[in-house]
């Protein structure tokens, strides 16, 4: 049984937003649920297809491993890269504490 006939719920949207690291308020959850339900409704058109003998296609052409000689090459300028960062310290990207203070 395909779950794609089940309309997306507000709880689904809230969960997906959390997984995607997007803070959204309750009004937005309602708004996005409505819009996404409409879009997902259109997607039920493929439910009727028998795809049991069809293999998935992830790329237009088969991906091949690309190798090269292991030789030194110029890389990005560290100072220039760090200058573009919101915060840096001791030639590293600086971020807030990783261990949450409230969980």
């Amino acid at each position: 049984m395909s779950p794609s006939g089940t309309p997306i719920s507000a709880a689904d949207v809230a969960k997906v937003a959390r997984l995607a690291r997007l803070d959204i308020d309750e009004a937005s959850v309602v708004h996005f649920t409505e819009q996404l339900a409409k879009v997902m409704g259109h997607f039920s058109d493929i439910d009727a297809l028998d795809l049991s003998d069809v293999g998935p296609m992830t790329q237009p052409f088969p991906l091949v491993n690309v190798l090269r000689e292991d030789v030194e090459q110029p890389c990005l300028d560290t100072d220039e890269v760090l200058d573009a960062a919101p915060s840096s310290d001791q030639r590293r990207f600086r971020v807030p504490p990783i261990i949450g203070l409230d969980d």
Partner: protein, 479 residues
């Protein structure tokens, strides 16, 4: 002062033969930008001073007898999702506002090496997600032919820049039609090359199995010229096809005698009657020029929209995870990293980007993966197999580019599904990885331009440009 040619090839020839200077050309285009840009908003950034300096350097090279590139002095505009070293690159998103990339995209460095002069970075739907350029965080671009209407999208700024005479050529990116659809709506030529023909190094990724860079131009020959200049293997893109750039300009004038042109008898409905009328005329014109029209079917085509709007958002949800406030762009400070990510992304992304990230995350999430993403990948194969069968019978396929002509602002912006349907004829090509182009072919409702789409099999750019050239001739030739 001699008249400034309106084509890239004409400009390059006139500068190389010293009929005009690169400075005269760039000043003329910058004057056009000054005159109309406030009405059009094609650009996020105009790099006027750097463009003049580059033109002067080319003129100095010519005066000193030093060698110049094949596109020396040709003004060009880049969609603002292509990295330009030290020059702001925003993807029309608040999350990247102010970011200056530490490197150039391969297409940008190749065109600079060929002597092309950047005039600016063009507006787009945020992260190339949209079909009208209304999703830009910096305001919409207006269609130069009717400023109450959209230019299409997502490369609306690049299409409008060429249509308004701000540059003879520009580059866009096409994930589901983002070059061809705005080309059709603005009445210019737009090309999506074969997946892997043009390097994506330095293109901000949207959906990596679909994205491809290509040109806008006023003529089919110019589009071929720019495709030649940017194509060819690049070691910096692992999906780059390991072959040199093909010769394409010569194909444009070869004619279509003996070619087999596919007419899709089960084309998904929804196109405006005037659009269908132009398509019928296009077939008649090619037949009159010596081609044979062959009826074909593509039974899975109507499922392409669903496959695309599951696959592209799924890939986007992964690609856009990099905008997390750590290495570049916006950061909203918070007590810990997780809160910082959520707050930064909430403040930095617009609604359409959020919708697609959530859609993609949902399609990939536990319990739904097989029902949505897994199924979409199988439908993708059905579509590719449909094309394979069709190309056993025909050299190219002709369809409309867009079901509708340029629509008024606000028409579809609150109805994502209505907006997505704009891409119904362009999406299948991206799923298959094939080349396709849009050629202006008369007008439709409200006197707005109609684009005819030429689809070809993988690496079928040469036959595609032959048919493109013939359509251009039939539509009244190079204007």
């Amino acid at each position: 002062m001699a008249t400034i040619p309106t084509t890239a090839s004409g400009i390059a020839a006139a500068i190389a033969s010293k009929q005009i200077t690169a400075r005269e050309v760039i000043d003329s285009y910058l004057a056009q930008i000054t005159a109309r840009e406030s009405d059009i908003h094609a650009f996020n950034l105009v790099t006027a001073d750097a463009a003049r300096a580059h033109a002067d350097a080319i003129d100095a090279d010519i005066a000193a007898g030093r060698p110049i590139g094949p596109l020396a002095g040709v003004p060009i505009a880049y969609k603002d999702n292509m990295c330009t070293h030290g020059i702001e690159t925003t993807c029309s998103s608040k999350i990247l506002e102010g970011w200056k990339p530490p490197y150039d995209a391969t297409v940008v460095s190749r065109l600079r090496d060929a002597g092309a002069i950047m005039v600016g970075k063009t507006n787009l739907d945020e992260f190339a997600m949209g079909s009208s350029t209304e999703n830009s965080a910096f305001g919409p671009t207006r269609n130069p032919l009717d400023t109450s209407r959209v230019p299409g999208g997502s490369s609306g700024g690049s299409a409008a820049a060429v249509a308004a005479g701000f540059a003879p050529v520009s580059l866009g990116s096409d994930t589901g039609g983002s070059i061809r659809q705005p080309a059709a709506l603005c009445g210019v030529v737009g090309v999506k090359p074969t997946y892997g023909l043009v390097s994506r190094y330095g293109l901000c990724a949207y959906a990596s199995s679909l994205d491809q860079i290509g040109p806008f131009a006023t003529t089919v020959a110019d589009a071929a010229l720019i495709t030649e200049a940017i194509a060819g293997h690049d070691a910096m893109d692992s999906t780059s096809i390991p072959q040199p750039a093909p010769a394409l300009v010569a194909s444009v004038s070869q004619g279509v005698a003996g070619m087999r042109i596919g007419r899709v008898t089960d084309l998904p409905a929804g196109a405006e009657p005037e659009v269908i009328a132009r398509l019928t005329e296009a077939f008649a014109a090619l037949e009159a020029a010596g081609a044979t029209i062959v009826d074909i079917t593509l039974p899975s085509l109507s499922y392409a929209l669903t496959a695309y709007y599951l696959i592209a958002p799924a890939e986007a949800s992964s690609n856009l995870a990099r905008y997390d406030g750590v290495r570049y762009g916006l950061r909203v400070n918070a007590v810990d990293t997780n809160s910082m990510y959520g707050a930064t992304r909430a403040a930095g992304f617009g609604d359409e980007v959020k919708r697609r990230i959530m859609l993609g995350t949902y399609a990939l999430s536990a319990g739904y993966y097989d029902a949505y993403y897994g199924k979409a990948l199988k439908v993708r194969r059905l579509i590719a197999e449909d094309f394979e069968r069709a190309y056993a019978q025909v050299d190219v396929i002709l369809t409309p580019t867009s079901p509708v002509v340029a629509f008024p602002f606000g028409d579809k912006v609150d109805d994502p599904m209505a907006m997505y349907l704009c891409d119904i004829y362009t999406i299948p090509t991206n799923l298959a990885g094939h080349p396709a182009m849009s050629v202006p072919f008369g007008t439709g409702a409200h006197g707005m331009p109609v684009g005819i789409q030429v689809l070809a099999p993988a690496l079928g750019e040469a036959p595609m440009f032959r048919v493109g050239g013939a359509l251009e001739n039939a539509a009244g030739g190079v204007k």
